[in-house]
């Protein structure tokens, strides 16, 4: 019987988010199926369900005609599904061969393993891949491309019926990509089911046969690669209704002087970043996950080292040693991970608001004195609650008990309290996991801050949002700026095209 993998009505909910909803499609053996969708469309979640990593979901998985349900990753591997994860899952201090055969070291009786066979099998595999790696080498000492190839070998050597690749080419160079595509063709000829997730359009057209497009966790369309085109796919990926949310925003019209200028900023993660930002302007940073947007923010906030280039803040060239330094210069960051990096979840709203200004609210509030002035603390927090209409009975409430939107407002309140002198506010995914109604409130809040003369950098993976809230949009890909557009010029199509530009 021919190999096949069919998904029937797969659904998955996380607290507050419907990640997948009624996904159904069938992947045939001997064909390569591309899973396509924007960030957050649900591709990775779908792969995690197929691989037994996520075990609670709705719907069923039918493998080679039989319904299967995996209790853990081992069950999925045994059933014949292997995944190559986007985040490499390697053990850096162990050898290449032990990584490749982890979980299935060749036996040689009495609990021992056959080191010779392990070496030879790995060697054969490396030769089949046409690479030059020593099976005994520590994986942590390989370059990233080779590490990725080890990750691929891990799944390849299992000879599974279904192999899914999640963005496999991101860390690879052309040489390895060629090798990988050759391997995929071989597997295809052997009748295997190949699922291929990638943002690179050229690859999709090069090696896939079928395409399934997902959007916001829902199935959009299934098509044959030969019968479609890049513009059509992009339209399918983004096409959603834009409501009145954005047209109703009351925006800032008057920009001041240039507050921030980046000149060829280069860090270990991003290259040659240059742009200017004026007072009261909202600058959007768009791009796919991993494009380097967060890394630009981290460099601006003194969290990543600057290798070369210049940051000019208020006409003065600055070099931040650490976030404290950046804060003192008037830079504030609302990080992507609100719960881990933004808030101290099990402290009160008051404590979270005053966090960066504790030394300014001692004594009578002039920064002198040892004891914290509790009244002043409460005043700051009360003002934040009022200013952003945070829904809470008291500032003594723990931030963990607030909704996502209100949590985000607490962070905004922190960076804009009277004791702060914020000139530049960086918002990294400020509406992640926040419901639609509150999103609109956050957008208006951001516009209001701009009206007060604060320069805002708005980072978002949601295209609609970033192109409609920002005044100007910079698009990044792979650590570089690939283009910039104004709000008037921006469409989801042209921004996505820039974000995928090679």
């Amino acid at each position: 019987m021919a190999m096949s993998l069919e998904l029937r009505g797969i659904g998955k909910s996380f607290p507050g988010v419907r990640a997948l909803d009624g996904i159904s499609f069938k992947a045939e053996g001997g064909r390569v199926l591309a899973l396509l969708g924007e960030n957050g469309a649900g591709k990775s979640t779908l792969l995690k369900i197929m691989s037994g990593d996520q075990t609670s979901y709705e719907g069923e998985i039918v493998l080679n005609g039989n319904t299967v349900k995996f209790s853990d990753p081992l069950a999925a591997i045994k059933a014949g599904i292997s995944i190559i994860y986007q985040e490499r899952q390697l053990m850096p201090s162990l050898s290449v061969m032990e990584n490749v055969f982890a979980g299935e070291l060749p036996k040689s009786g009495l609990g021992l393993y056959d080191k010779k066979k392990l070496y030879n099998d790995t060697k054969a595999l490396i030769e089949e891949f046409g690479l030059n790696i020593d099976p005994n080498e520590q994986v942590g000492r390989l370059n990233v491309a080779h590490q990725q190839m080890v990750e691929i070998m891990k799944a390849y050597r299992r000879n599974s019926d279904v192999i899914a690749f999640d963005e496999p080419t991101a860390p690879l160079t052309d040489t390895e990509i060629k090798i990988l595509f050759e391997l995929i063709r071989k597997q295809k000829e052997a009748g295997k089911v190949i699922i291929y997730v990638s943002h690179r359009m050229s690859e999709i057209f090069q090696i896939t046969d079928d395409i399934v497009v997902l959007k916001d966790g829902k199935f959009v369309k299934s098509l044959k690669t030969a019968e479609t085109s890049e513009p059509e796919l992009i339209k399918l990926m983004v096409g959603r209704d834009i409501g009145d949310t954005y047209s109703n925003l009351s925006r800032n019209e008057n920009y001041g002087d240039v507050v921030l200028e980046l000149k060829n900023l280069t860090t270990p993660y991003v290259h040659d970043i240059s742009f200017k930002l004026r007072k009261g302007e909202i600058l959007g940073l768009a791009g796919l996950v991993g494009a380097g947007r967060t890394e630009v923010a981290r460099a601006l906030f003194g969290a990543d080292p600057v290798k070369s280039g210049e940051i000019i803040l208020d006409g003065e060239s600055v070099k931040f040693k650490n976030p404290r330094d950046a804060i003192n210069h008037g830079v504030a960051l609302c990080p992507e991970d609100r719960k881990e990096q933004g808030l101290v979840m099990f402290r009160t709203i008051r404590d979270n608001v005053v966090m960066p200004v504790v030394d300014k609210i001692c004594g009578k509030g002039e920064g002198k004195g040892v004891m914290v002035n509790k009244k002043l603390m409460s005043n700051l927090a009360d003002n934040a609650v009022e200013k952003y209409s945070i829904k809470t009975p008291t500032i003594e409430k723990l931030t963990a008990e607030l909704s996502g939107g209100n949590q985000q407002k607490v962070i905004l309140g922190r960076w804009t309290s009277e004791k702060m002198v914020t000139k530049l506010l960086i918002l990294d995914e400020p509406t992640k996991g926040i419901d639609v109604g509150t999103k609109a409130e956050i957008y208006q809040t951001v516009c209001n801050l701009a009206k007060q003369g604060i320069a805002v950098i708005f980072i978002s993976s949601e295209l609609t949002e970033v192109i409609n809230v920002s005044d100007n949009i910079i698009v990044m890909h792979n650590g570089h700026i690939t283009g910039s557009v104004t709000r008037q010029e921006a469409t989801e199509e042209n921004v996505l095209a820039l974000a995928m530009k090679e």
Partner: protein, 343 residues
């Protein structure tokens, strides 16, 4: 096979500089505390009896229980966990053994089996807390250590139990060739077995994989909880064996002595000084054994030279701090190297 030379691999091992420091420190102490005043280094080592057979033998005796504990601790650390209740488990095991011997007519072989069962139960308790209730191992095992030691004191109201089974005590007194204690041989054999298990068996390699990257190991189909279970239970059995060897040497089970004779911290210090990564994923038994030996020589020397014993505590703490700093630096360096490779 393009193997690196032995020397090169040796130099990359982070245990080497640490053990070097330890050796230098030991020699320095010898020189300072014995020789400086008289202008004759090392002389006091002989005059005060450090080099006497009796004293050297006492070092071997004190090493026995620590070596047994080391085997278990090293495996647990490599697997990315920690157990701070080993000395407590060893103590409770000896108390169970001595109690059965004193209050029943059962042969000591049966008492031994009962002790092992008790040890397995202790291991299961630790596993339950760590894998089922998901307590951090650090907290869970500190708590359990207190429970185990409390139970020991409750059993006898804080008193020792004398062991009077001659055939059992003989194990502790027997010397092979009239020189080397049998108990020490047993400890060495245990260490050789565990070095072998770690480097040559499928189970041993899975410990490294799980300690090196638990998520990767899980996604590769390894069963984490089952491995943790095995590790904790093996560790408990080793603690029991170590405790019994100690009791055979000292003819007694005591609710308080083992924690002083073989503190968990000392064994963990030795493991880290000897190259076991505190965060898991790398290490062996040989390096830690050398570190343990040096720590005991250092310890003993200070005693013989009549250096105030508080300095000893101070020095051991300092060594652990140095070892942790080294461990941290080498982890950071590896991270940086990985980062550099990403560019």
């Amino acid at each position: 096979m393009q193997n690196e030379s032995f020397m090169k691999r040796l130099m990359r091992n982070k245990a080497v500089p640490l053990l070097g420091i330890l050796i230098v420190l030991t020699i320095l102490t010898m020189v300072i505390s014995s020789g400086v005043t008289k202008g004759e280094p090392f002389s006091a080592l002989f005059s005060k009896g450090f080099m006497s057979t009796g004293n050297l033998l006492s070092i071997f005796y004190s090493l026995v229980i620590q070596c047994a504990m080391l085997c278990g601790i090293a495996c647990i650390l490599i697997g990315g966990n920690i157990d701070l209740s080993v000395a407590g488990q060893a103590t409770l095991s000896t108390m169970v053994f001595a109690w059965v011997c004193a209050n029943t007519e059962l042969p000591w072989g049966i008492a031994f089996v009962i002790t092992l069962v008790a040890a397995v139960i202790m291991g299961l308790c630790n596993t339950f807390l760590v894998t089922k209730l998901r307590f951090p191992a650090f907290i869970a095992t500190i708590g359990m250590a207190s429970i185990y030691r409390g139970l020991c004191s409750v059993m006898t109201g804080g008193n020792n139990i004398t062991i009077n089974r001659q055939s059992f005590l003989a194990i502790g007194q027997l010397k092979i060739g009239g020189v080397i204690p049998l108990t020490f041989i047993i400890a060495i054999v245990l260490m050789i077995i565990f070095q072998f298990v770690l480097s040559k068996t499928r189970f041993g390699r899975s410990i490294f994989m799980i300690g090196g990257n638990p998520n990767a190991a899980r996604l590769a189909g390894l069963n984490l909880n089952r491995t943790y279970l095995k590790l904790f239970v093996i560790n408990s059995i080793l603690a029991a064996i170590g405790g019994l060897l100690w009791s055979a040497q000292n003819k007694v089970a005591s609710p308080t002595s083992i924690i002083n004779a073989a503190p968990d911290m000392k064994v963990i210090s030795a493991a880290i000084l000897g190259g076991v990564a505190f965060t898991g994923g790398s290490g062996n038994i040989g390096g830690p054994f050398v570190a343990l030996l040096l720590l005991n020589v250092f310890d003993n020397m200070l005693k013989v030279l009549e250096v105030q014993s508080y300095w000893n505590v101070f020095a051991q703490g300092l060594l652990l701090a140095v070892a942790l700093v080294f461990d941290y630096i080498s982890t950071e360096r590896r991270k940086k190297a990985l980062l550099a490779a990403q560019e």
